[in-house]
Symmetry: none
Subunit: 407 residues, 2 copies
């Protein structure tokens, strides 16, 4: 019997409420330059502290030891889906990041406008980094001319500067394919190929990409400098078991940035639109409290300032979050979790593999007798260091959603 | 996708330097008799302490919970090879321990001289524990008479007292076989059989062992008391993926004892010969610094005194090691790890399953704010308690050798 089957079998129908607050890139490392404190340790967090005293803590490995996850694997792991089993291609992530509404089976490609010479040789892979407005104009042009390739619907959406995405929506399509990108100047755009030569759906998709090029290149032929384009990360949105089926909880997402809404949507979470600040997200949570069982609330700024290497700003972002917390706490869910999707240490100015701290509060969590919620404290919490994919299972356990296994 | 495939895919070519120092059997347990201190806790270790403040710590499970490893599985685990997947037979370990240069596919047997009666019945399984000199004389005799069996080369090397090893080097040979040993006196030596009756290479090997007996017993017929021999642990050296391919790091071994050199050689590490003391090992490391990317430095005495149950001597061995450390620290690698291959608690006078402490220092390790490197401190380190096979993956992560996984 698989572990997932066991969890399913033991799951009881309850009317419990769950809140998962993700401070993106929350985890950090203590360095001498930072006086051996992480931003979370340096921040004044009276509200988190109060919860910490009544909580269990630990640290979570996002994917596997030493692996630094992007936002996709980071969040899929948090949602309890093994990021190795459910891989989401770059094209899909980019499309989600641009706010496109995807469906399972949609094949997405990230694309760049590029400059080609008369022989079709790529002379500039980014078409001189054309301004976003030019990109939008060219995408509008392509969209007006190409709505379908055969029976397959084509959706094109502009990104920043030379970047855009293309979504193919039809039946029997699959990725991943090789890139339509020579990866350097001086070569023609290679034809895409199935990653698995025996996969007929990938073959069909490769033909579609070739046909898309045949249709699109003439449309751009007279443009300067963007008379061509490259396509990469061509893959389909995988079929991911729905969150509601997996956990018997109706989930909703309160995120501001499109990519996180998109990742939530991948597993079937409802997207609650509107709120722009953490205060607004918390207020909206109060209003929606009766409509869902599981709330994923995403806070971006910890990651953003970690990426900037801005310790003071990351600390301040945590303090701002903490200051808003009393709004959320007006409605007390059965299980309340605060964590990150990964670490983004200021010292590294980027995502990292360091396990992120996690705090679980419920009537059944017990107290680890920790006065605060910090990386160092979490090291000696009762949850230990564990794979992130088990976190929602622990939430379910804390809500007493599991029957006893065996007599 | 397998985890190993993911690590490979994400590995970046770097010019980073890695040092793994293994204090054999370092881990220990605190008992009342030891005033609740381990040797590591009781030892004065100013140099390790200084590094501890700038490091991450944790504890490592060598093979699986409760499993006490020998040196073979202990080191294979440290080198990142699952000791369950890559099993190295006793014959191979013994041959490596005697300093024989093995090649993949070599079949090795550990052997004992024994006493047989006129009917071939074993009357003494150890031939009265003949002195080592007699063993060497008999091995020289056998070696001079038997250089080949058919096309297969035969190498024989004496060990201590009645012990020796036999290596068969040829094509299409494989173990493991059953033992040519009745395991008690009063029985004849049983013919060896393939462990897998359908394996033709094992069948061929079993025939070779029978032929070896036919050739060797007459040579010994007139010897007293060692007129026969038993063979056990007959197995081939497995094909193990090379360390350099697995990690993209050129490895070298600085060990004094042959078995550890042999284990390093199994995974393709270069053996640096010469140094006899830890000071000499560290000095040599400084000289070889530019020639390799990964240095495995092995220190034996912690294990030796643990096996003796000699707390004071194990503590002193740690202090001697610490006193030598400043030599090593003249060259600062990108990643520096201190650990053991397993625990050898003085109170148990032998190897044990207790997770060994590990300390990882790098620019990206962060500090766990621990003032010392000890078993008890490591319990609250950020690395948690994890399988030893992930340690080098964490070293690679600390050297920023992995690309981000997913967008």
């Amino acid at each position: 019997m698989s572990l997932d089957a066991l969890y399913s079998e033991l799951t009881l129908k309850t009317k419990t409420k769950h809140v998962l607050v993700v401070l993106d890139g929350l985890g950090d490392i203590a360095t001498r330059q930072q006086n051996y404190l992480t931003p979370l340790e340096a921040a004044a967090t009276p509200n988190l502290d109060r919860i910490a005293r009544e909580s269990a803590q630990g640290r979570m490995i996002p994917v596997a030891p030493g692996i630094t996850p992007g936002s996709g694997p980071g969040h899929l792991g948090l949602f309890g889906y093994d990021p190795l089993e459910f891989q989401v291609g770059r094209g899909v992530i980019e499309a989600l990041g641009l706010g496109l509404e995807l469906k399972p089976g949609d094949v997405c490609a990230r694309a760049n406008f590029a400059t080609l010479d008369a022989k079709g040789i790529v002379t500039d892979r980014r078409a001189g980094r054309i301004p976003t407005e030019t990109c939008e104009k060219l995408v509008a042009l392509l969209s007006s001319k190409i709505k379908k390739i055969g029976d397959t619907q084509v959706l094109i959406k502009a990104g920043k500067e030379h970047r855009f995405v293309v979504v193919f929506r039809g039946k029997g399509l699959e990725g991943p394919l090789t890139d339509a990108d020579p990866n350097r100047e001086g070569f023609v755009i290679p034809a895409v190929k199935p990653r698995d030569p025996k996969n007929l759906k990938q073959k069909k998709m490769a033909k579609l990409i070739a046909d898309f090029y045949k249709a699109a290149l003439p449309v751009l032929a007279k443009e300067k400098p963007a008379n061509g384009f490259l396509m990469r990360g061509i893959a389909h949105q995988p079929e991911i078991p729905l969150f509601v089926d997996r956990y018997q909880l109706r989930p909703a997402c309160l995120a501001v940035y499109p990519m996180y809404k998109g990742l939530a949507q991948l597993v079937g979470m409802a997207k609650i639109e509107g709120p722009q600040t953490i205060q607004e997200q918390f207020e909206r949570y109060l209003k929606e409290y009766d409509n869902y069982d599981f709330f994923f609330i995403h806070y971006k700024y910890t990651d953003k300032y970690g990426e900037d290497g801005n310790f003071a700003a990351k600390k301040k972002a945590i303090e701002d979050f903490d200051a808003a917390l009393p709004i959320l706490l007006k409605k007390k869910p059965d299980v309340f979790v605060v964590t990150g999707d990964h670490s983004t240490p200021c010292a590294l100015r980027g995502h990292s593999w360091h396990p992120q701290p996690v705090m679980i509060h419920s009537a059944a969590s017990g107290s680890d007798k920790l006065e605060r919620f910090t990386e160092t404290g979490a090291n000696s919490g009762s949850l230990g260091v564990f794979p992130a994919k088990f976190m929602i299972r622990l939430m379910q356990a804390n809500a007493q959603m599991f029957d006893k296994f065996g007599a």
